[in-house]
Symmetry: D2
Subunit: 359 residues, 4 copies
């Protein structure tokens, strides 16, 4: 098990979907950051289930309690403990999956690896664990704000419905203007429509979240192994249901020749060093170069579908299983604050690590 992420700004998460709750300890957050419980709660509210008809109706207030590390409104340099009690966990019956291996879930692999598992709601493998990340990400964001860094993620694709333009052509202030969290209103409506249709067919659909970080100073990223994009990729691939990560030109950069792909340096009117194009996605040699950082994260369709599926139980017997209860037909809208949080965490860690660059 590895439930710690980060080198200097480090989080350790714990908790299961249907145990007492979900928590996180942040170790290494510098002292002197002004952090209010309300800041953390606001981030959690964006991830909370039941926000619109596009997400699961599971009811969780997701009230965060600060257990340590914040005193009189400021971080003290000591570990910050945050805990979110589960409320809705007792009311459902999970006996139908106690012995079943749900297709494309983690039931089989956890059982094989550990010999036992908390099967209720997926236990530790549930995406409910990401609530802890979102809470921690809200603290990291406070450090980023001090450095003028702004992270904005949005839904850029649901199934085959795609935003037709790049992030530079969008008004990222519109992300929260609709329940899909897509800043291209027209596309957002088509996405919402697809999600509703999918839900009504008792099916699920995947998509892509695009992440953007503006104002990142030059110099973040730790070659050769902890290049900035390698840490971002690791962070994103650690989120439930993620199948791919690309930054800058990504997979489509393969189609360009070097003479097309290279980003020429120039000085702008303010005498700042900039690049004319940004196929590099703001990162060169694994280190931020001061341009916008952008990347894309692929989410598969949620594995829990309300249709009968054939599978095996833990005796190796073939069974037919249908999802019960309340599930997201599409996780993309709720994935946005998670991508934000993980981006915040990586950048906060890299800000601290960069303090050792020079003697």
């Amino acid at each position: 098990m590895s439930n710690t992420f980060g080198t200097l700004f480090r989080i350790t998460t714990f908790g299961e979907s249907h145990g007492p709750g979900i928590g996180v300890v942040i170790d290494g957050c510098p002292a002197g950051l002004a952090v209010e419980v309300a800041d953390i709660q606001a981030a959690l509210d964006r991830r909370r289930p039941g926000q619109s008809d596009l997400t699961t109706p599971r009811k969780e207030a997701d009230q965060v309690e600060v257990l340590s590390g914040i005193f009189q409104g400021y971080t003290t340099g000591t570990p910050i403990g945050l805990f979110i009690r589960n409320q809705d966990q007792a009311s459902h019956d999970y006996s139908h999956i106690e012995h079943a291996y749900r297709p494309s879930h983690a039931d089989y692999t956890y059982d094989q690896k550990y010999g036992r598992r908390d099967y209720r709601g997926g236990g530790r493998s549930s995406a409910r664990e990401t609530a802890a990340r979102v809470a921690a990400g809200a603290v990291a964001q406070k450090l980023l704000e001090q450095h003028g860094i702004q992270v904005s993620s949005y839904v850029s694709q649901v199934g085959a419905v795609q935003v037709p333009v790049g992030y530079e052509a969008l008004d990222l202030n519109l992300i929260e203007s609709n329940p899909v969290r897509c800043p291209h209103p027209e596309t957002a409506e088509r996405m919402a429509e697809l999600i509703r249709q999918t839900r009504d067919r008792h099916d699920t659909v995947g998509g892509v979240v695009t992440g953007v970080a503006k104002g990142v100073p030059v110099g973040l990223g730790e070659p050769v192994f902890d290049r900035l994009h390698a840490e971002l990729g690791h962070a994103m691939l650690s989120i439930n249901a993620v199948k791919g990560f690309e930054y800058g030109s990504g997979f489509s950069g393969v189609l360009l020749f070097g003479s097309e792909h290279n980003d020429e340096f120039y000085r702008d009117e303010a005498d700042q060093v900039r690049t004319r194009t940004n196929h590099s996605g703001g990162i060169q040699g694994g280190i931020s170069n001061g341009q916008d950082i952008y990347f894309r994260v692929a989410f598969k369709p949620v594995a829990t579908i309300l249709q009968p599926q054939k599978t095996l139980n833990n005796q190796g017997e073939e069974i037919t299983l249908a999802g019960k209860g309340r599930h997201d037909p599409c996780v993309l809208p709720r994935a946005v604050p998670i991508v934000d949080a993980m981006t915040n965490l990586v950048l906060a860690d890299m800000l601290l690590r960069a303090r050792s660059n020079k003697a």
Copy 2:
């Protein structure tokens, strides 16, 4: 700087392109593995420059010296030091890039981050560093062989030229049958042709390496942060020129509905638990499920092109720069052993980590 990769099977690399050489220390390799220098040398020979007319003619014998950790043909559990002296480093003039920031290279970011850099041949940011990874990967492979794991990577795309079928339809024994390292001979020829045309135009071209691991036992991968695919993604994104990583259905999985994407479990004739499809790419909940693991890694076109480009020098002055010397028009063929090595290293680490699963 972070030059260490892995948790229990850990490598630390060092060395610059034009310094004394490139090295690696492997810490945590279990005792009792039979390792010959020839095994390591064979891996290095696959990565070595000058293998065919598709790669750089830079001449490096890449002879490895074992500095420690192997005694009488076996690993002893002590750290294994490997060193590859640079031979060709003194003969060239790099003064034209001493003060220049080559487009899409790491010159600018290293200079800003560290205040100074070894500019000769890119110094530490050169892909020559990957020789150390390949050497270490050959040792990791010995551990994998003990467990019946086999890693095979190949070039599946160069520019727009793609292998038209999935890895399951290919004979992976053909990878070494041509200098492109593409096991689909017909496509390999078209790729070679594209690389030669690109080289003759003094340009460069990117591509995709597909990685495949067969025989991986159930249970590798450490949720929640070190999911097997997150470690693989981190490893691949730490390789020079990589822009994206996807596994299983990857970005194209976004287009499927949950009912199409889910992999149903069944028992095969040998009474083994298997899945009918493998959109999961052999990994569920971040843990290997015993099916084939497969993934794709996007490489951008090499940044060094033998054409004049506009850029800045470290005084902020606009200059025109053209690559000199001997460079790869396409790194894909030489990237294959690097992807193999990083896959070996991740799997070896995960094999050791999985030893703590159960009491």
Copy 3:
């Protein structure tokens, strides 16, 4: 801040003396250990204040809540969250030390390092943090029991009052037979008397805890830096008020010549390899050799004394300060379960790490 200890069996503690509580997350505990809340509570009860007239009368029930990681009585391989709410924290007035730097406390150094601190009861620097370690140590002990390892610490010295014989001559079952936790009843009484006299003089007194681990298998310890005794030393020196650590012959071994100090190997009646003497303290080359491990830990007298002392406040002004409230005149009796816990944690970690010794 570094609030994580251990490599594979890792704990992260959090919480302040007078905040909501003290907690710990154990990451890496193998699945399948039978752990009852009562096991953890029993360990905490040994460390709890107010056990006898020799310790602080602060009232803390120290009730532990399991937040995650244990399901149906067994560990699941997921992180184990434990939390102990503070009960007695609100009732006292700490304004007299808000701006004062108590002599030989951490007030000054925390203030300088972090720019602010939770001054109530010492905040994070309070020994109350060790409750979290004791809770975690009780879980580690379950793993040790599986391997037949038994850890027993006891008070071997208070001030100048010393147990006159070595651990081998003692019945370690008597440790809990008196409130001092000294298995030599006669000496225990003299220690108790010294502690009471010291308390009545409003002073404090230090001492030594001797730790013993029996049944440790050959092979634990990870040279060259994580030698078993180096990890034990690190663990002990991380406990509040500890000033020194020695193992085996320790500082007194300096007085022996090599010909006297060396431990000759022989085979005993049961054909086991043993040593005739054990100046090595059960560890050779940093690795356990199967003999008893024993070590000594020096604790300074508690810094809080109920006498007026001259010191400075955070304005640099000279002030006179006297301890208030309820404090331990001697921490030694309550230090015993903490030394036990840290020993358990080190050995559990080393047991897991040793699983990677051989291929």
Copy 4:
């Protein structure tokens, strides 16, 4: 195996006593430090065998080669590889210990743990490994010099011969004035005499090194687990033959009452916060307080003695064994540069870690 030490200023050592050589990779050294090969060589020359008639006559030039990370006289922020070739390794016959378990050596434990070992000269368990630490420590010292920190260790005890005064009463400039490295000339002579007598009796003798660090700024040390003294203790206990560590008042502090032991704060003439006594050894709450740091390290007598001893071989048979070749009758004089080096490394690491204290 754990051959890495440090968190941000990290070293990884490799190499065996009679293999090709001993090396180290320093990762995390900030860029911009002026480092000459001569600086490193000077430190190695202090540790080198054969310096006087008090040490082993083994002949090793211990010439260091810089493999990477230093360019044009400055560190570049990339990993620094250093290598020292063994010269004297081939000339001796070690067949007498190939199958023998030397008393109080690591032969038995290495064999049991790893199943095999390089037996020549102790292989990895030889103190020759510390050459790598000394080389790395010389680089760390460059960082300390920038911050005005000065580390001075000396031999304060050999057998029963002790320096009669504390470090404050000594002129530490005299450390190098005699081959014992004891700055109290009279005692140094008595120590030298004892060492020669011991050597002539074919025996060995232990002793104590006292370490002193002056000029350490307030704020180094990372509670709760990586307290400054816990890291120092870990570092010292990782050196061959070390049996104990104490700092400040150490084990003798146990004999003081709190009212005697506490260090009162005051302002000196220069308006600096100071303490009137320094039983704390310059560290409070695990964090440096600006006063001198001092500690003591106990070394056992060297295990190799040139006298016959009874022991076992790897078949479990009783044999008689006598040390052959050239060995130190007392390691203390050569231990001084090793204690210096480990102190430098801990302080350099803590300097970098302290950069994250505040937002």
